[in-house]
């Protein structure tokens, strides 16, 4: 068992404990059948008990087995491109529509993680979004969000 396991177990223990309390509040039994809180209690209770078990078993872990969530090498650099892009993408889709937001999203990621030039990134993203638009919206009639440009 590792330090990461202990952190995860602690998070699950707190989360599961709170969920158990809320489940009990909802009512465990109603007449002859389980109430709304019964099944959530099974899941949350199981999570809590197993988290406790994981915490207990990880007490004897040797320091040599310890691993941390620290990012190594290029990992953080790559993630720093993907994470903000993923967080902003739905917001941009909401305001600009699927096609313009996707062009921006792809161009930024091609440039950031692939280290392509801006022109290459923009051309590639226009081509990809164009193909997707024809395939999904025109041919398969998929209802993707539209923005002020109608795309």
């Amino acid at each position: 068992m590792t330090r990461v396991d202990r952190i995860f177990a602690l998070v699950m223990l707190v989360f599961g404990g709170l969920a158990c309390l809320e489940s009990i509040r909802m009512g465990l039994w109603k007449g002859e059948v389980p109430g709304s809180g019964f099944f959530p209690l099974v899941g949350a209770g199981g999570m809590t008990l197993l988290a406790m078990l994981l915490l207990i078993t990880s007490r004897g872990a040797s320091p040599g087995e310890s691993k941390t969530l620290v990012f190594q090498g290029n990992e953080l650099k790559q993630l720093s491109g993907f994470v903000p892009a993923l967080l902003f993408y739905p917001i941009f889709v909401h305001f600009l529509g699927f096609a313009p937001a996707s062009v921006l999203f792809l161009a930024v990621l091609f440039r950031r993680s692939g280290r392509y030039g801006w022109i290459t990134s923009l051309v590639a993203s226009f081509v990809v979004v164009g193909v997707l638009h024809v395939g999904l919206v025109v041919l398969l009639k998929a209802g993707l969000p539209k923005g002020p440009l109608g795309l």
């Binding site: 809180g37 099944f39 959530p40 899941g43 999203f105």
Partner: protein, 505 residues
């Protein structure tokens, strides 16, 4: 004879031009998914489910099933060419496939992989055709208590897909069970864990969660790893010699049987089947020392076994509504989205769908052979697409996948959040498949539990006094014991193989 007549009807459905086209599209996309490292069959199906939303249910499932077994075919290409399995079932193929490629025999290795996959895949569909209808007839006698235990049997799969730690697997399974309860309680109408947010009242959409846990998390995880290098070698002829084909005929039979039987078992995934088949071939070989050095049987056995699993794992999913793997759970979710409820009644109420799907698997296997033998060079070229170019495109597909299920941006946020959760879980080596199993099985389990107790007026002995329910309870216990034994056996088999490979070096 009944099965034969039903199959003829099935072929009538499968050979309809629209279904043929979508079967081909599924096989092609599936092979592409299998070829590209970082996207497994489960993630591939999850990402592409929304594309099928506008299709008729049979056509949609024919395409999705094509993606599933297509990915099993395609996984061997990366295993053989770059020593990196495209999906878990191709891990054992690496051992001899890559060695063959290093010796300039990448073509015959890829060819044998396609032939073995075709033979085993086709034979396993015959098994599915013969075994599924009688099992469905038996399952028709099931009431709510029996259904509850069938779902429990499904939950025992969590133990087999738990990865390195059973506690972690069970914990994430409970997490899946818990998040399935978020939203409106279908029986009482009470809202659970919505905290006043009306968007949460409909609960978490299974596909959004799956797209996040498998698609987005997988991309984040792979994008941060160093890139694999394509082994530059001439492919040459993709056909193995006649002597090699003759030598592999018994291998085809054995790996089909192993794969099919493992596929039937809860948690019996393609990785287990391929390692077992490889192990059996090595033990039965007159020259076991050739294994790990580029023995062609070492490619045929795991590839055949992992394709045979597809037919086997369809049996419990179609007849009992029990998904035995993450990919099957997602396929089952897709069926439910298309208004089909897997289980014994499926054969009675939707015979055209079931037999059309089975017949399409025969057709799909032929298509895959045609796709894989002449197009090996093309698939090898696909591997040269740089991952930084591919990953953002797959993320856009994830977005489309999450959005088009309910035309709702909230589902996209759900996918993004579960993408980060899945990435953290992968990094901390927590299995994600149990979350999906819990999420899919929990609502059915809860309904069956409540219905059973309503029938018995709150008397829990209903679960133990009905013979089939008691038998299913026994099977649950057996499944748990089996999972523990299988874990031990698998780790031993892997250890023996690794030690063997090290000794031979």
């Amino acid at each position: 004879m009944d099965a034969f007549h039903s199959l003829l009807t099935g072929f009538h459905v499968a050979l309809n031009p629209t279904n043929l086209f979508y079967c081909f599209a599924g096989c092609f996309l599936g092979t592409l998914i299998g070829v590209l490292p970082g996207i497994g069959p489960a993630a591939g199906i999850a990402i592409l489910i929304p594309i099928t939303s506008g299709l008729e249910s049979t056509t949609a499932l024919i395409m999705l099933a094509g993606i599933y077994y297509g990915a099993m075919y395609g996984g061997s290409t990366t295993a053989i060419l770059i020593n990196l399995p495209g999906e878990a079932g191709s891990v054992a193929t690496v051992l001899d496939g890559y060695q063959m490629a290093r010796k300039g025999r990448a073509g015959p290795a890829l060819g044998m992989s396609a032939i073995s996959s075709f033979v085993a895949g086709t034979l396993s569909v015959i098994g599915l055709m013969l075994l599924a209808p009688p099992l469905a007839s038996v399952a028709l006698a099931f009431g709510p208590p029996e259904v509850f235990f069938v779902m429990m049997l499904g939950m025992t799969i969590v133990m087999s897909v738990s990865g390195e730690s059973m506690i972690k697997g069970l914990m994430t399974g409970c997490f899946g069970l818990f998040i399935a309860t978020v939203g409106l309680d279908s029986q009482t109408g009470a809202t659970r864990f919505t905290f006043g947010n009306w968007k949460l009242a409909a609960g978490f959409d299974v596909i959004s969660v799956v797209v996040g846990l498998f698609g987005i998390a997988e991309i984040l995880s792979t994008a941060t790893k160093p890139e694999g290098q394509v082994f530059h070698t001439k492919l040459g002829s993709t056909l193995p010699t006649l002597q090699e084909l003759k030598a592999c005929v018994p291998t085809f039979g054995r790996c089909t049987l192993i794969g099919f039987l493992v596929g039937l078992l809860p948690g019996g995934n393609s990785a287990i089947a391929s390692f077992m088949a490889y192990d059996v071939e090595k033990k039965l070989s007159k020259h076991p020392e050739r294994f790990g050095q580029g023995a062609i049987e070492g490619v045929a056995a795991p590839e055949g076994a992992n394709n045979s699993v597809t037919g086997g794992s369809m049996v419990p999913m179609l007849t009992l509504g029990v998904p035995v793997s993450a990919a099957m759970a997602i396929l089952m979710g897709a069926m439910m989205i298309h208004g089909l409820r897997p289980g014994p009644l499926l054969f009675e109420q939707n015979p055209n769908f079931v037999w059309g799907l089975i017949a399409s698997m025969y057709v799909g296997n032929v298509m895959l052979l045609v796709l894989n033998l002449p197009l090996v060079g093309f698939w090898a070229k696909m591997l040269k697409i740089p991952y930084p170019m591919l990953a953002p495109i797959v993320l856009v597909f994830c977005f489309i996948g999450a959005y088009t299920i309910r035309d709702n941006l909230f589902d996209v946020w759900v996918a993004v959040v579960f993408g980060f959760v899945g990435y953290a879980m992968q990094k901390a080596r927590y299995p994600v498949a149990p979350v999906v199993l819990g999420l899919i099985l929990a609502p059915m389990m809860e309904d069956a539990l409540r219905q059973s107790l309503s029938i018995s007026r709150g008397d829990p002995t209903i679960f133990f006094t009905r013979p089939i329910a008691a038998l299913l309870l026994f099977l649950c216990v057996l499944s748990i014991a089996g999972a523990i034994l299988m874990r031990r056996r698998q780790s031993k088999a892997v250890q023996v193989l690794v030690e063997g490979a090290q000794d031979e070096k």
